[in-house]
Amino acid sequence: MRRTITSAMILIALLGVGWWFLSRHGTIKREGRTMNPSIAKYVDYVSTEPRLAVRFQIPKGWGVQREQGKVERYHQIRIRGPRNQEDTYTCYLSVRASPLQSYGGKFGSVEELVSNYKSHLFQDPQILVQHPVKVAGIAAQELLVSFTIPPLHQPGLKAIPIPVKTRSCFFERSPYLYELIYSADAREFERYVEAFERLVRTLRFK
């Protein structure tokens, strides 16, 4: 009996050490989703939507959602990453194509699209970086912004402020305006920003 109790105590102690080790150094499952300290592997994603005929690489295990506008005209691929520590915000990558105004869309140029984007960051927006870059050989505008989502008093949401950072590239490839987006809790932004850099680097039109 005494031996059994001793064995049980040793087992519990070992399990505790194992949990501590995994939580500090390894991969922990939290609320059904994996939270990796960095991205171990990427996979190719090839869009089957003819109006968003692109391919690029995404972190393995991130969920892909394809979307078509219901009230506005656009096609989008959203790739959901891990939830933040406060359980208030899930980071994501998005690739969105909206028709130019001359093809029935809202905006006639990258400048108009960027200007609208910057005007509606709520609240306390800061434009941290804005500079020209190239995406798939096309001239683009890259933006890094921060803002704070105020406490949202909706059922199912925690009513606490969320500091957010978003990095985006905007460019035109007629007949569409494209947006590549990475958004995350500002405190955890750096953890997965490499996924955005990989997306920008590997994006190709089919």
Partner: protein
């Protein structure tokens, strides 16, 4: 405004009542209801009126736990009785913490929660429960409609100074970035 689909509750008789109940804030909710009824979002109050949906300020106990900070919620059960009258009946409750808000500010919330009632009527809620629609689909329409209404009254509340005005303004600004951006935000918050 996004219109709702075809009514799935074909056996639920109309009562044609503005059913604002409870012991507190009845006048306030009545004013909010009338504002919506005379706006571009009148289809929402048309449905609330037609089915006589109960709208009231709840008690603190109704907003315990995870609902503590919610401004309001739409509650439903009774899906199994479809297409007859749901049992129990659905209802909308407002949080008594926000009983001092302006009726115009609460009216935008009524549009949001009333849109969820419209989704209950047109089968969107059932589709969500059956996983044919996502929480993003369901919440997008409610946020979009709430933003469309808020656009018509927000000029009176700038810069936003109350909790509810801030929540309304945040949804409105996200909607101005476009449908895709609003769906991104909802995905980030809810999933």
């Amino acid at each position: 405004m996004r219109a709702r689909g075809t009514d799935q509750w074909t056996g639920w008789p109309d009562t044609n009542t503005r059913n604002i109940t409870g012991t507190q804030g009845v006048e306030l909710l009545g004013a909010a209801f009338d504002l919506v009824a005379n706006s571009l979002a009148s289809s929402v109050t048309n449905d609330l009126f037609r089915k006589g949906l109960s709208i009231a300020f709840g008690s603190p106990a109704d907003f315990a736990g995870p609902l503590a900070s919610a401004i309001a919620y739409f509650s439903f059960a009774g899906i199994v009785t479809m297409p007859a009258t749901p049992d129990p009946l659905p209802f909308i409750l407002f949080n008594p913490k926000f009983i001092t808000e302006d009726p115009k500010v609460l009216a935008a919330v009524l549009v949001h929660e009333g849109t969820h009632f419209q989704q209950f009527l047109d089968g969107t809620t059932v589709d969500y429960l059956l996983r044919n629609k996502t929480v993003v689909d369901v919440e997008f329409t409610a946020w979009w409609n709430g933003a469309a209404f808020w656009q018509t009254v927000r000029g009176n509340f700038l810069p936003p100074a109350t909790t509810v005005a801030f929540t309304n303004e945040a949804g409105y600004q996200a909607a101005l970035q476009g449908e895709g951006a609003l769906r991104d935000l909802i995905t980030s918050l809810y999933t």
